[in-house]
Symmetry: C2
Subunit: 288 residues, 2 copies
Amino acid sequence: MKILRKISETKRITSALILKKKTIGFVPTMGYLHEGHLSLVKAARKKADVVIVSIFVNPLQFAPNEDFTKYPRNFKKDEKLCRNEGVDYIFYPDIKEMYPDDYSTYVIVENVSLGLEGKIRPEHFRGVATIVLKLFNIVQCSFAVFGQKDAQQACVIKKMAEDLNVNTKIIISPTIREKDGLAMSSRNVYLNPEQREDAAYLYKALEYARRKLTLENYNRDIEFIRGQISKLIKSRKTATKIDYISFNNSRTLEEVKTLKNLKNTDILISLAVRFGKVRLIDNIVIKR
Amino acid sequence: MKILRKISETKRITSALILKKKTIGFVPTMGYLHEGHLSLVKAARKKADVVIVSIFVNPLQFAPNEDFTKYPRNFKKDEKLCRNEGVDYIFYPDIKEMYPDDYSTYVIVENVSLGLEGKIRPEHFRGVATIVLKLFNIVQCSFAVFGQKDAQQACVIKKMAEDLNVNTKIIISPTIREKDGLAMSSRNVYLNPEQREDAAYLYKALEYARRKLTLENYNRDIEFIRGQISKLIKSRKTATKIDYISFNNSRTLEEVKTLKNLKNTDILISLAVRFGKVRLIDNIVIKR
């Protein structure tokens, strides 16, 4: 496994791989890798000749009030984990080379970026779309793997790739969960033991909604289900604020207000909840 | 020469060319080709194994009040001209395939897009950057050739390519002029004979400025030179409005207000003038 720090060197290597007809599989990350990331790496490893993981905490996707400087980092551990998974290259660039002082180009995906996380973090997906496109151009990957955990991010990147005719196939991999159902996330380390216990209720609430929408009759009112999810989460003492509980078309992210006339539309149920200062997101997709 | 109408077919062909280690040279155009375009094609032909010209009147770079529907088109003539220049492929896509109904991704280049043309045509460079990136991804070119005639466009595209780590080299080719100095432009066909005659004064005025800035002493005041350019243009009866006469750093497009302390900064002098309803732009670069 080789660690690449420079853009030009990375491009040189990936250009040579393409001429050798190698399939490059890519997993972009912000580091502090956990089982969730490793499942993406495994998915890439299965299909690619060469697997590249990038580790870059992207300042552009953090708002000034967010946790950019405090975001957890542990390169040595990440390196070991990648080596164990058979990664070929880690791309680990410098902020100054990725965003020089006169940097001024941004990729904006309208519509799918606007609701949910986009409402609370208005510049976030601009930052995500921009860094992902930069990384795609540098690593020149045939495909890239993203997690379903960040459902809206997955939609934004798919839409960007489609709209800009990007030559990288986007693959979305299922969310990996702890035994009690909590979705794996680098931010889980922020949780204290009591919050950690309560956080498992996010998935319990989502699974409740799945049962309501699938096992019982389809005419259940969405506002009723939303209310029940909310009640269940609020029953946990450390859940201090629900940012949203949302029902959307899983592809276009248009809000779903009623279950009537919804045949063939997969429904994304997503939520964002704060446990003290720790903000967690989770989601499930109901196939129709 | 082959005409490609479909994105997928074009990508298939360009991907195969890359694996054969062919250098793809690209000239994006809006068609209605003239000697200016052909000089770009010739520049590409000299360096590339395979030359691709795109012909696509890009709706995204026209404001609602602009001449999108009236923009001159003549595909049969363009085809003949391309064939004569030894072009290998014309990429001639459908608007509906380039911008499907749910299209929603845009590339924004801040700073260099803001002044000059950007001030008068605020969405213009967003449209240009977006279509150019799409085309680069489709034709997968090693290099692309643009004209110095559209000086700000050249700066925007260079900056975008640099910032987004695009794998296409940007080449800027000199402006081609009629015998009397008028810069070649598809929009020149809109000029009536009297306007056509007066339009030559744009270049005469720019050349006057060049003499002032180079042959005479460097302490000439920029406001004085701007005034003289303005006077010369206003002396032509059909020149109905000067949108701007501007002095800028040719790379960053920062405004140049004084010639003092400007060593090693090339100066772009650019102007936009209306002759009745026909709006023309032109520029020269003063090397320092």
